[in-house]
Subunit: 107 residues, 2 copies
DNA sequence: TACAATTATCGTAATATTGCAATATTATAT
DNA sequence: ATATAATATTGCAATATTACGATAATTGTA
Protein backbone atom coordinates (compact mmCIF):
# COMPACT_ATOMS: atom_id res chain seq x y z
CA UNK A 1 0.00 0.00 0.00
CA UNK A 2 2.47 2.63 1.08
CA UNK A 3 -0.11 4.49 3.09
CA UNK A 4 0.41 4.10 6.77
CA UNK A 5 -2.63 3.10 8.75
CA UNK A 6 -2.68 6.26 10.80
CA UNK A 7 -5.99 5.53 12.49
CA UNK A 8 -4.66 2.65 14.51
CA UNK A 9 -1.89 4.66 16.11
CA UNK A 10 -1.89 6.90 19.13
CA UNK A 11 -1.40 10.65 18.85
CA UNK A 12 1.83 10.40 20.80
CA UNK A 13 3.31 7.88 18.42
CA UNK A 14 2.21 9.87 15.40
CA UNK A 15 3.74 13.03 16.84
CA UNK A 16 7.08 11.35 17.33
CA UNK A 17 7.02 9.85 13.85
CA UNK A 18 6.19 13.22 12.29
CA UNK A 19 9.02 14.93 14.09
CA UNK A 20 11.35 12.16 13.00
CA UNK A 21 10.15 12.42 9.44
CA UNK A 22 11.43 15.97 9.20
CA UNK A 23 14.89 14.75 10.11
CA UNK A 24 14.68 11.62 8.00
CA UNK A 25 16.35 13.14 4.95
CA UNK A 26 19.99 14.27 4.97
CA UNK A 27 19.17 17.35 2.91
CA UNK A 28 16.72 18.54 5.55
CA UNK A 29 19.23 17.91 8.31
CA UNK A 30 21.77 19.91 6.34
CA UNK A 31 19.29 22.71 5.69
CA UNK A 32 18.34 22.96 9.34
CA UNK A 33 21.96 23.09 10.36
CA UNK A 34 22.73 25.65 7.71
CA UNK A 35 19.93 28.08 8.43
CA UNK A 36 20.83 27.95 12.09
CA UNK A 37 24.50 28.54 11.44
CA UNK A 38 24.09 31.60 9.28
CA UNK A 39 24.74 34.88 11.06
CA UNK A 40 21.86 37.29 10.78
CA UNK A 41 19.97 34.52 9.09
CA UNK A 42 21.16 35.63 5.70
CA UNK A 43 20.09 32.65 3.72
CA UNK A 44 19.03 31.93 0.17
CA UNK A 45 22.22 30.26 -0.85
CA UNK A 46 21.05 27.02 0.62
CA UNK A 47 20.86 25.76 -2.93
CA UNK A 48 24.57 26.31 -3.51
CA UNK A 49 25.40 24.91 -0.10
CA UNK A 50 23.49 21.65 -0.36
CA UNK A 51 23.91 20.78 -4.02
CA UNK A 52 20.32 20.13 -4.98
CA UNK A 53 18.18 22.07 -7.40
CA UNK A 54 16.23 25.11 -6.26
CA UNK A 55 12.83 23.42 -6.56
CA UNK A 56 14.02 20.46 -4.55
CA UNK A 57 15.39 22.67 -1.80
CA UNK A 58 12.17 24.63 -1.80
CA UNK A 59 10.25 21.40 -1.37
CA UNK A 60 12.38 20.36 1.59
CA UNK A 61 11.93 23.82 3.05
CA UNK A 62 8.19 23.33 2.83
CA UNK A 63 8.42 20.15 4.86
CA UNK A 64 10.44 22.03 7.45
CA UNK A 65 8.01 24.94 7.33
CA UNK A 66 4.96 22.70 7.70
CA UNK A 67 6.54 21.28 10.81
CA UNK A 68 6.62 24.82 12.19
CA UNK A 69 10.40 25.02 12.27
CA UNK A 70 10.84 27.89 9.84
CA UNK A 71 10.62 31.60 10.36
CA UNK A 72 11.08 33.78 7.31
CA UNK A 73 11.36 37.47 6.58
CA UNK A 74 12.45 39.51 3.62
CA UNK A 75 15.75 41.33 3.65
CA UNK A 76 16.10 43.25 0.46
CA UNK A 77 15.34 40.95 -2.42
CA UNK A 78 16.16 37.76 -0.63
CA UNK A 79 13.94 35.78 1.66
CA UNK A 80 15.72 35.23 4.90
CA UNK A 81 15.00 32.06 6.74
CA UNK A 82 15.58 31.33 10.32
CA UNK A 83 15.08 28.36 12.52
CA UNK A 84 12.30 28.58 15.08
CA UNK A 85 14.50 27.57 17.95
CA UNK A 86 11.67 27.28 20.47
CA UNK A 87 9.84 24.82 18.30
CA UNK A 88 13.07 23.03 17.50
CA UNK A 89 13.71 22.53 21.20
CA UNK A 90 10.15 21.32 21.63
CA UNK A 91 10.92 18.61 19.12
CA UNK A 92 14.05 17.70 20.99
CA UNK A 93 12.10 17.42 24.20
CA UNK A 94 9.45 15.17 22.69
CA UNK A 95 12.10 12.84 21.34
CA UNK A 96 14.05 12.85 24.59
CA UNK A 97 10.97 12.01 26.56
CA UNK A 98 10.38 9.05 24.29
CA UNK A 99 13.98 7.90 24.51
CA UNK A 100 14.14 8.27 28.27
CA UNK A 101 10.83 6.63 29.02
CA UNK A 102 11.46 3.77 26.64
CA UNK A 103 14.96 2.93 27.78
CA UNK A 104 13.97 3.25 31.42
CA UNK A 105 11.23 0.69 31.00
CA UNK A 106 13.45 -1.86 29.35
CA UNK A 107 14.77 -5.01 30.95
CA UNK B 1 13.11 10.48 -8.50
CA UNK B 2 12.50 9.21 -5.04
CA UNK B 3 16.09 8.23 -4.60
CA UNK B 4 17.91 10.59 -2.34
CA UNK B 5 21.24 11.82 -3.62
CA UNK B 6 23.19 10.25 -0.84
CA UNK B 7 26.58 11.01 -2.36
CA UNK B 8 26.30 14.74 -1.87
CA UNK B 9 25.62 14.53 1.85
CA UNK B 10 28.01 14.25 4.76
CA UNK B 11 28.22 11.10 6.87
CA UNK B 12 26.99 13.00 9.90
CA UNK B 13 23.86 14.16 8.13
CA UNK B 14 23.19 10.71 6.73
CA UNK B 15 23.60 9.16 10.16
CA UNK B 16 21.07 11.51 11.68
CA UNK B 17 18.61 10.94 8.87
CA UNK B 18 18.95 7.16 9.19
CA UNK B 19 18.31 7.28 12.90
CA UNK B 20 15.32 9.49 12.31
CA UNK B 21 14.01 7.17 9.62
CA UNK B 22 13.65 4.37 12.13
CA UNK B 23 11.40 6.59 14.21
CA UNK B 24 9.55 8.03 11.24
CA UNK B 25 6.72 5.52 11.32
CA UNK B 26 4.24 5.34 14.21
CA UNK B 27 4.21 1.55 14.10
CA UNK B 28 7.95 1.43 14.72
CA UNK B 29 7.68 3.91 17.56
CA UNK B 30 4.96 1.74 19.06
CA UNK B 31 6.99 -1.43 18.57
CA UNK B 32 10.07 0.06 20.20
CA UNK B 33 8.03 1.23 23.15
CA UNK B 34 6.32 -2.11 23.43
CA UNK B 35 9.38 -4.34 23.33
CA UNK B 36 11.00 -2.14 25.95
CA UNK B 37 7.95 -2.22 28.20
CA UNK B 38 7.56 -6.00 28.27
CA UNK B 39 8.89 -7.68 31.37
CA UNK B 40 11.41 -10.38 30.57
CA UNK B 41 11.10 -9.31 26.96
CA UNK B 42 8.36 -11.79 26.32
CA UNK B 43 7.30 -10.57 22.96
CA UNK B 44 5.67 -12.03 19.86
CA UNK B 45 2.30 -10.53 20.55
CA UNK B 46 3.42 -7.30 18.99
CA UNK B 47 1.06 -8.15 16.18
CA UNK B 48 -1.97 -8.16 18.48
CA UNK B 49 -0.74 -5.06 20.24
CA UNK B 50 -0.17 -2.87 17.20
CA UNK B 51 -2.97 -3.95 14.88
CA UNK B 52 -1.01 -4.62 11.73
CA UNK B 53 -0.51 -7.94 10.00
CA UNK B 54 2.29 -10.27 10.99
CA UNK B 55 4.29 -9.73 7.77
CA UNK B 56 4.02 -5.98 8.15
CA UNK B 57 5.20 -6.10 11.75
CA UNK B 58 8.02 -8.40 10.71
CA UNK B 59 9.03 -5.87 8.09
CA UNK B 60 9.06 -3.04 10.61
CA UNK B 61 11.07 -5.23 12.95
CA UNK B 62 13.62 -5.69 10.22
CA UNK B 63 14.05 -1.94 9.89
CA UNK B 64 14.58 -1.76 13.62
CA UNK B 65 16.95 -4.72 13.51
CA UNK B 66 18.96 -3.29 10.63
CA UNK B 67 19.43 -0.18 12.71
CA UNK B 68 20.99 -2.38 15.37
CA UNK B 69 18.27 -1.75 17.93
CA UNK B 70 16.99 -5.30 18.26
CA UNK B 71 18.28 -8.17 20.31
CA UNK B 72 16.46 -11.48 19.91
CA UNK B 73 16.59 -14.90 21.47
CA UNK B 74 14.34 -17.91 21.47
CA UNK B 75 12.30 -18.75 24.53
CA UNK B 76 10.54 -21.98 23.84
CA UNK B 77 8.85 -21.66 20.51
CA UNK B 78 8.59 -17.92 20.53
CA UNK B 79 11.23 -15.50 19.47
CA UNK B 80 11.79 -13.01 22.21
CA UNK B 81 12.80 -9.54 21.22
CA UNK B 82 14.45 -6.96 23.30
CA UNK B 83 15.63 -3.44 22.74
CA UNK B 84 19.36 -2.87 22.59
CA UNK B 85 19.33 -0.10 25.12
CA UNK B 86 22.96 0.88 24.63
CA UNK B 87 22.45 1.42 20.95
CA UNK B 88 19.16 3.16 21.60
CA UNK B 89 20.89 5.63 23.88
CA UNK B 90 23.58 6.12 21.26
CA UNK B 91 20.86 7.23 18.90
CA UNK B 92 19.50 9.60 21.48
CA UNK B 93 22.92 11.10 21.96
CA UNK B 94 23.50 11.63 18.25
CA UNK B 95 20.18 13.40 17.94
CA UNK B 96 20.76 15.49 21.04
CA UNK B 97 24.13 16.57 19.79
CA UNK B 98 22.52 17.71 16.57
CA UNK B 99 19.73 19.54 18.37
CA UNK B 100 22.07 21.20 20.83
CA UNK B 101 24.67 22.26 18.32
CA UNK B 102 22.12 23.51 15.87
CA UNK B 103 20.05 25.54 18.28
CA UNK B 104 23.16 26.96 19.92
CA UNK B 105 24.42 28.28 16.61
CA UNK B 106 21.19 29.99 15.76
CA UNK B 107 20.57 33.70 15.88
C1' DT C 1 10.48 -37.90 11.69
C1' DA C 2 6.22 -35.43 11.44
C1' DC C 3 3.41 -31.81 13.40
C1' DA C 4 1.98 -27.49 15.25
C1' DA C 5 3.22 -22.87 16.30
C1' DT C 6 5.90 -18.83 15.38
C1' DT C 7 8.47 -15.80 12.55
C1' DA C 8 10.68 -14.50 8.06
C1' DT C 9 10.54 -13.93 3.18
C1' DC C 10 8.46 -13.33 -1.42
C1' DG C 11 5.48 -11.23 -4.54
C1' DT C 12 2.63 -7.62 -5.50
C1' DA C 13 -0.36 -3.48 -5.21
C1' DA C 14 -1.05 1.14 -3.52
C1' DT C 15 0.76 5.25 -1.87
C1' DA C 16 4.64 8.43 -0.59
C1' DT C 17 8.93 10.59 -1.35
C1' DT C 18 12.51 12.60 -3.98
C1' DG C 19 14.23 15.24 -7.69
C1' DC C 20 14.18 18.40 -11.47
C1' DA C 21 12.58 21.24 -15.64
C1' DA C 22 9.34 24.56 -16.68
C1' DT C 23 6.61 28.06 -15.06
C1' DA C 24 4.43 31.23 -11.85
C1' DT C 25 4.81 34.27 -8.09
C1' DT C 26 6.87 37.73 -5.18
C1' DA C 27 9.71 41.65 -4.00
C1' DT C 28 12.95 45.27 -5.02
C1' DA C 29 14.98 48.61 -7.84
C1' DT C 30 15.03 51.47 -11.92
C1' DA D 1 4.98 50.23 -14.88
C1' DT D 2 9.03 47.15 -16.20
C1' DA D 3 12.86 44.56 -15.48
C1' DT D 4 15.49 41.67 -12.58
C1' DA D 5 16.40 38.50 -9.01
C1' DA D 6 14.77 35.14 -5.69
C1' DT D 7 11.57 31.78 -4.27
C1' DA D 8 7.33 28.86 -4.80
C1' DT D 9 4.41 25.88 -7.43
C1' DT D 10 3.24 22.55 -10.97
C1' DG D 11 3.83 18.43 -13.48
C1' DC D 12 6.01 14.44 -14.08
C1' DA D 13 9.34 10.44 -13.74
C1' DA D 14 11.90 7.34 -10.80
C1' DT D 15 12.46 5.18 -6.58
C1' DA D 16 11.07 4.03 -1.74
C1' DT D 17 7.81 2.75 1.67
C1' DT D 18 3.92 0.47 3.48
C1' DA D 19 0.80 -3.26 3.75
C1' DC D 20 -0.80 -7.88 3.23
C1' DG D 21 -1.70 -12.74 1.29
C1' DA D 22 0.78 -16.74 0.32
C1' DT D 23 4.55 -19.39 1.35
C1' DA D 24 8.88 -20.80 3.32
C1' DA D 25 11.80 -21.37 7.14
C1' DT D 26 12.61 -22.27 12.06
C1' DT D 27 11.84 -24.16 16.61
C1' DG D 28 10.05 -27.19 20.17
C1' DT D 29 7.23 -31.20 20.93
C1' DA D 30 4.91 -35.64 20.23
Amino acid sequence: MGASKVEIHTDAHILISEIAKVLSHPARVAILEYIAKQENCICGDIVDEIGLSQPTISQHLQVIRNAGLLKGSFEGKRLCYCLDVARFKEFQQVLNQFFNQTSAQCC
